[in-house]
Every structure is written in structure tokens, then in C-alpha cells.
Symmetry: C2
Subunit: 207 residues, 2 copies
DNA sequence: AAAATATTGTTAATTAAATCACAGATTCAA
DNA sequence: TTGAATCTGTGATTTAATTAACAATATTTT
């Protein structure tokens, strides 16, 4: 049984709020409280939690610790997954910095670049390899996810190499739509599109 | 009449492909060709184009120039919109660099930061102001969209200032869910969520 | 201990988005 | 010039996601 895509996204978000609440010393949370922390309704929260099969003590709200653990069982891999950032410019550094130090099942353990001044240095806490060693390093370090933050003009080329290196999932931050075989999970985030969408809805409000 | 959100996103993406085709000297494109450039079907392309009320010459495909112009009429504001980037760290720089130099109706004309070593300098081609002058500059320069790329712990605080400054649209790149009044259009992109989603679907493929 | 209240879990209804299916228009081939 | 082929535009259908509605259950109040 696989969860709806949107539910997966929200669970990831819930988890961070829940951990936050735990740190603040809370032990339980109601669906409407969790909803209020996000842009969301109590029904949606309950529906999402129903999907993962967790049930609360009636009327006490959800046990924070238990719920965090159940979400972890769903989202995390037992042993964690290794991640590489391809292209360590401003965006690559930003993404890397977000993750290093966070205790997470996703470990950014390598970055790649063509810039020889970066190679073999530690950037944002992670070692940078030459792109020419991509396949070798991906295999040796069992990297299964790549984050693509290279310039647009090399995106297609690098993607071919990632496919060749047998990557399992790819997060594309370039503005180039990529073609990968269907067994590779691909998610794309396009800044230009996002911003043009904001502009459109600023111009033409919905209601 | 406002368009479906997904259609708006795709139109933004189509436009860039279409401009690319124009540069390559093409004059027309079939729906299935445009679909192939994205992760998309020909029907979806035709449906999207139907929404904006453009019709092609039957059997010749869509006229690239005309279609680009019609999409522009829908997505762009007549006079363009002014945009500010709040927080000019790695992520802020990456976003800014994406946009400057591109001929677009979205003009990044200011960045803001608290770091005094950045203030009054030109970073990624755009002048950096102190965050303390946010409201003043937003009003003076008629900035209507803000891109939020500050550290998580100052996100809520800065957002309150943006609301105060009467911003119209907000693109949130921090991992903190923001609360803004409903008249402000808010779009959020959460890197951690995106990556956790990729991890989930790598672990549990859909079919 | 009965009544009122608050909260969950879930079925049913609704809405939004994507896909199917096909008529109509144009071009191409013979 | 007829017939086959190709492509668009759109009504009808399906699928995915959200929201409404409410019974069941626990808690609090009186």
C-alpha cells in the first residue's frame, strides 16, 4: 500500500512540527492543533494519520512520541539513504547546508563539481569529487539519491551519467525538464515556474 | 476566469520550451511534440491551451510566436512586477542569479539582509538593503512579491514585517510554515519535504 | 449518573485534475 | 477525387484529493 503523494509531503511536515512540540515539553497534540501549525484542516490531519494506521487515545489527542515514530516507520528507510549533490554552486551549497548536522536518515555524503578549485575540498561539510568520478563514487558509497543543482546547459548530460550510475531517485532543481527511465523516481522543482505562478495569482486573485 | 493552478505551472514551463524552439528556427509545434518536451501527454497540452483560448491552424500545429504571446498575456502583468529577495545567503544568491539578466516581467530589484558586511553592496547584480529599511524600500520601489530565503529562526519575524509592508505575494523557501492573511498569495517550497518524498518513493515504488 | 461537550475515525459527497474517446478539419497518397 | 492518415478541440468519464457529515467514545459538568 503506497500513500497519496500529498499525504507523504504533509507527514514530513507534520513530523518536524511534532518534534518541535516535543522539545517544548508537550506530550500530546490534537488534530486541530497540528492543522493550525500548517495550512491545513483538522479533517485532513486525521485523514493523513488514518492512512498510516495510527490511532490515538480518544479525546487525549495524539501521543507525540508515538506519532513521530510511526511517521518515521513510514518515511524512513531502516538504514538511511545516501545522497549526493551534483553541482556545488550557491544552490548546491544551500541544499547541503540545510541537511548537514541535522539528524536524519538522509545523509548527504558526497558532492560533485567540474570546478577544479573545489575538487577534493570539503564544502558545506561534505567532500567534493570531480564529476568524472561520479559513477565510481556513487557505486562505492551506495548513493541512491541525487540532487541536481548544475547549470541548465549541463543538466541533460549529467542526468545521463546519473542514470548510467544507476541512481534510484533524482531531485531536479534545474529549469530543464529531464528524461529518465520510469524506474527512477523524479521530482522537479522549477523556481521560475513557482515565481511566475505567484505573479499570476497576485495579478488575478482567486476569489 | 482563473486558470487551474497546475495549468498555470505548465504554461510557464511550455513558454520556455517554446522560446527555445523559436531560437532554433522552428515556427510551429504539435501538441505531442510539446508534450514530449515535458513529462506530459498531448491531451493535457491541448487542454491547457484550450484554457487560454488559443486555437491553432488545424494540422499545422501551434504557431510558436502566437502561442508565446498568448501565454504572456495570461501570465505576465502589463508593466511587470517588482520582486525582492529577503536573506541573501547561498539560497538567496542562487535565486537572484537565476533571474538577473533574464528578460522577464519579474524584476528582482532589491535584496535585504541583516549582515552589515553585505549591506549597500551589489550582490548577484542587485543592491542589498538592511532589513530595517524593508517597509520603506518596498513602498518606495513598489515591490509586490517577496522571496523568503532567511534562516528558519527569523522566518516568522521577517514575515510579519513583510505583511506590514503590504507585500502581495510571498514565495517561502524556509522550512517554517508561515501564516499570512488570506489576501496575500503564499507559495511554499520545502526542501526537506521534497527530499523525504523522493526517499519514500525510492523505498516504496508505486507500481 | 445523566447531560453536555470535545475529539476521533470513517463513510459519503464534493471538487479538482487528468484521461478517454471521438467528431471535425486538413493534408497526403494513390 | 476518393480514401487513409494526422492532428485539434472538447464532451464524457475516471481518478485523485479534499471536505462534509456524523456515529462512537471519552471527558467534564451539573
Amino acid at each position: 500500500m503506497t500513500l497519496p503523494e500529498r499525504t507523504v509531503e504533509r507527514l514530513s511536515e507534520y513530523r518536524r512540527s511534532l518534534l518541535q512540540c516535543l522539545e517544548e515539553g508537550k506530550t500530546h497534540i490534537f488534530s486541530h492543533e497540528l492543522a493550525d501549525l500548517h495550512h491545513n484542516t483538522a479533517v485532513q490531519v486525521r485523514r493523513d494519520i488514518m492512512f498510516i494506521g495510527y490511532t490515538s487515545m480518544q479525546r487525549k489527542g495524539y501521543d507525540l512520541r508515538e506519532l513521530v515514530d510511526v511517521i518515521g516507520d513510514i518515511l524512513d528507510s531502516e538504514r538511511g539513504l545516501n545522497v549526493a549533490v551534483i553541482g556545488i554552486g550557491n544552490l548546491g551549497k544551500a541544499v547541503t547546508t540545510y541537511f548537514v548536522g541535522k539528524r536524519s536518515k538522509l545523509n548527504i555524503i558526497a558532492t560533485f563539481d567540474v570546478d577544479t578549485t573545489k575538487i577534493d575540498r570539503v564544502i558545506s561539510g561534505v567532500k567534493c569529487y570531480p564529476l568524472s568520478r561520479l559513477k565510481e563514487v556513487v557505486e562505492a558509497q551506495q548513493i541512491s539519491i541525487a540532487i541536481l543543482t548544475v547549470p541548465a546547459d549541463s543538466a541533460a548530460e549529467v542526468t545521463a551519467q546519473l542514470v548510467e550510475a544507476d541512481i534510484k531517485g533524482l531531485m531536479n532543481f534545474t529549469t530543464v525538464p529531464l528524461n529518465v527511465p520510469p524506474e527512477i523516481y523524479l521530482d522537479e522543482f522549477d523556481m521560475i515556474t513557482s515565481l511566475e505562478k505567484v505573479a499570476y495569482f497576485v495579478k488575478s486573485p482567486q476569489n
